[in-house]
């Protein structure tokens, strides 16, 4: 994975390579490659999100690719059930995300750029408000800190 644009299956460069392949022109492919590849793969571009591993021995509620696409939908659905109807302990929960994915170093999912949530969201230029109200630290850490 040398190309940062591949990160979320958008992969424009892969698409372009296929199109030039179909055209069957080796020369044009070479020209495009020389023009495009340094622009995408060159240094100084936005660094790829480096995901910190979840707590060892934990199991996510969905496969990683499902979570990457749909975590926001799961959480949004669950938040209404929890806040409005008082349903707790359901399958999807922001707190459960934090409990497993908090960084070993900062004990947070959103404290520094490399932490789990922020690393992807800063790469995708999506600002999340979750942790302006929600605790970004696992329950156990937060309890220890308040003691």
């Amino acid at each position: 994975m040398t190309n940062p644009r591949c990160a979320f299956d958008a992969s424009p460069s892969r698409g372009r390579r296929q199109r030039t392949g179909r055209a069957g022109s080796a020369a044009s492919a070479w020209v495009l490659a020389t023009i495009l590849l340094p622009a995408y793969a060159g240094e100084g571009r936005t660094p790829l999100p480096v995901l910190e591993a979840a707590t060892a021995g934990t199991q996510c509620v969905e496969p990683a690719d499902v979570m990457r696409r749909n975590h926001m939908r799961f959480l949004k659905h669950q938040r209404d059930d929890t806040v409005r109807a008082g349903v707790r302990g359901a399958k999807y929960s922001l707190r459960a995300c934090v409990d497993c994915h908090a960084s070993q170093k900062t004990a947070s999912v959103a404290k520094v750029e490399t932490n789990f949530c922020v690393s992807c969201h800063s790469y995708a230029a999506v600002r999340i408000d979750c942790f302006e109200c929600h605790s970004s630290r696992p329950q156990a850490v937060a309890q220890q800190a308040s003691k």
Partner: protein
Amino acid sequence: MKTDPAAPLAESKPRRRGFLGVAAAGMAGVALAPGIRLIEIAQAATVSAGASPKVRWGMLIDTTRCAEGCTDCVDACNTENGIAPATRSTDPQWIRKIEIKEVKTGRSASVPVMCQHCAEPPCVDVCPTGASFKRADGIVLVDRHSCIGCRYCVMACPYKARSFVHEPLADQKPDVPRGKGCVESCTLCVHRIDRGDKTTACAEACAKAGHGAIVFGDLNDPASEISQRIRAATSTQLRADLHLDPGVRYQGL
């Protein structure tokens, strides 16, 4: 399927998914990914039923037992909900201790006042976004996801129960998300109620201090302590003339 966040993001799994689909069809779901099944069952078992409309949570505050100058309920509330003690009049406070005195007789009383969890809450009536709402079990809350911080509810509440968070917050309690730009008030320790606790932080602290001035319970359950107490002794609702039917009642005012 193990979650491996370190795996390359672009990794596609059509083959594995396809295989699983075929496997599921072939085995009719008998032995498909036992780990996942077990986890789903384990997680499903802990899902709470949610707020029940058969319940009406409320509190009885016995002002004859409430000690003047005691702030145990306020402190417990602050600790439970991660609220910094108020230093300015604009700081959020979920419980206020009010000292009242009848001029003619000189009789004084100390009264904690918090969100009264009205059956007809004016804060809900005025909320332009539907963020202010009443749960099925009578607890009046703010959904911070839709609160725009207009503070109409602060104006509408006759009990001055609601506060606005002016400053950015950090290190909130995982159970109690709070943040700048939203209105908030007493939640009757909704996170405790939902996990099955039978009391609130303030009632617990008051009992621990030996006053026992705050009784929390289900007003709809005739056998509950609060129902028996309000049946036995006179209690009043604050500003009963407004017909808001608060869930918090006061004895000995």
